[in-house]
Point group: D2
Chain length 154, copies 4
């Protein structure tokens, strides 16, 4: 059975991250999917995101940004899922404390492609701190980067 | 005594990073100083770089980008300094292989401020791989983030 | 078809790591399996490896050691597999340069159990540098830690 | 003015880490100094700690262990210093939750030497989570490794 508070909370967060974070708008970052089963964050290649004009590849900072956003959303979804009886107010409070403590990015291959999709999973769930692993692939399924991040969730 | 090849090579790299990397232009990233004694990379706050509109703080992805750029430039300067008799062609070849293998960012404090400056130093110098530590401060000297990155330099 | 040079080289490395590294003997670390399909490194719990006597859990330093050994062996196996025509001398030379550049350990759960097994896979393969991800489980399949390591292989 | 509760608490922790952690005894790890100004943890080279018999260097797992112990002690000292009016009971409770969330080790130079000393400092202090940077030097001041660790402190 779907928990309505969970669904509503995650939808609100997706709306904020999709539309009300100026830097996400600058990059064209979009939240394609966000529910308790996972998150899918997408960036479409555009000339302004290029890091190397000779090779036309995504700047590593865009990769890091996308992985960090995925990690934060993944950690928050894990927190939401961990309890049935959250109130919306409690979750809004938790959202204000959401933040990255540390992030590791492993760059595997040059960021070539048209559409870059980030996904993630919680590897350590906690009431205060969660750790997530994230991945970035292009539209052909080429694996471009891994991330590992530690997030404050409360 | 200043080595002219070193100075010329680093100036060329600074010009490329300053003016010919589209994503650096999008962020407004500037190379303030780049010589064998160090690098100073600056980003001025602007509304598009905000990650949290309520608190008006820099997006963590901008922090990661700035630290990664500082780390790459620091690693390359270390390589240039390591040998007296580089030719410009050799250094141009090395520049094409410059890339981040992995990056860790430690977020210490919210990114509040007007001007963010990144600096770095080489902690492990190698002919193929170098490891650097980087720091990000605002214009008041508040320490906002640390970075540690492993770079391919040959 | 099995490549005999590959098999011989990995067997020699397994023998060294199993029997001729004093610190591995101190811990009781054993190489259970080592071929081009993967590595399995095992440590059996014993009182001297405990980090917390009240809870009888493995010291985090043992976890880090086991993950680092797995990562190095995984990186080297990847290098061996990458070429058909290595000579034993070439591989022996490469082995002398094998070393950890950096290692991240994510501690997921307390190290309870009788037998701890580490496994790994290459996520970035290179002729000079490889990056691996490693995992540590106990005999019940409980996932205790993740590792990510960058290794010099040439 | 010295705070007596702080001094007593840190002395108790030093005694535990020095004498009642089996793995520390196995390695010969000693807490040389532990007060609110810092920690100094020492390991003397002995044949059992060697990772490479040809070069007689410290095993990287010993380095990781020492850095992790330093980081945990540094994080705990930071927590103790953060408040004047702890009770011993409160600090004992906090000590039971002390644990490593993640650890990065940067190996800078081969671990040659007779005595290895680890020191650290808090870079992000929190009531729940602290982040520390650690260093390992030999008796000649050669810098052998850096560490960065995120610790649960409450």
């Amino acid at each position: 059975m779907t928990n309505q508070i969970h669904t509503t909370a995650l939808q609100q967060v997706a709306d904020i991250f999709d539309q009300r974070v100026p830097f996400h708008n600058l990059l064209g970052l979009e939240i394609k999917r966000y529910d308790t089963d996972g998150v899918e964050v997408v960036i479409n290649m555009k000339p302004e995101l290029v890091g190397n004009i000779h090779q036309n590849i995504l700047h590593g900072g865009v990769t890091a940004t996308l992985l960090d956003v995925v990690g934060g959303l993944t950690a928050f979804a894990g927190l939401v899922s961990s309890k049935q009886d959250w109130t919306i107010e409690q979750l809004q409070n938790r959202l204000t404390t959401l933040g990255t403590i540390d992030l590791r990015v492993d760059y595997l291959r040059p960021g070539r492609g048209e559409t870059f999709t980030g996904t993630g999973s919680v590897i350590r769930a906690g009431n205060r701190v969660s750790v997530c692993r994230m991945e970035l692939h292009n539209e052909q399924g080429t694996h471009i980067a891994f991330g590992t991040g530690t997030y404050m969730v409360g």
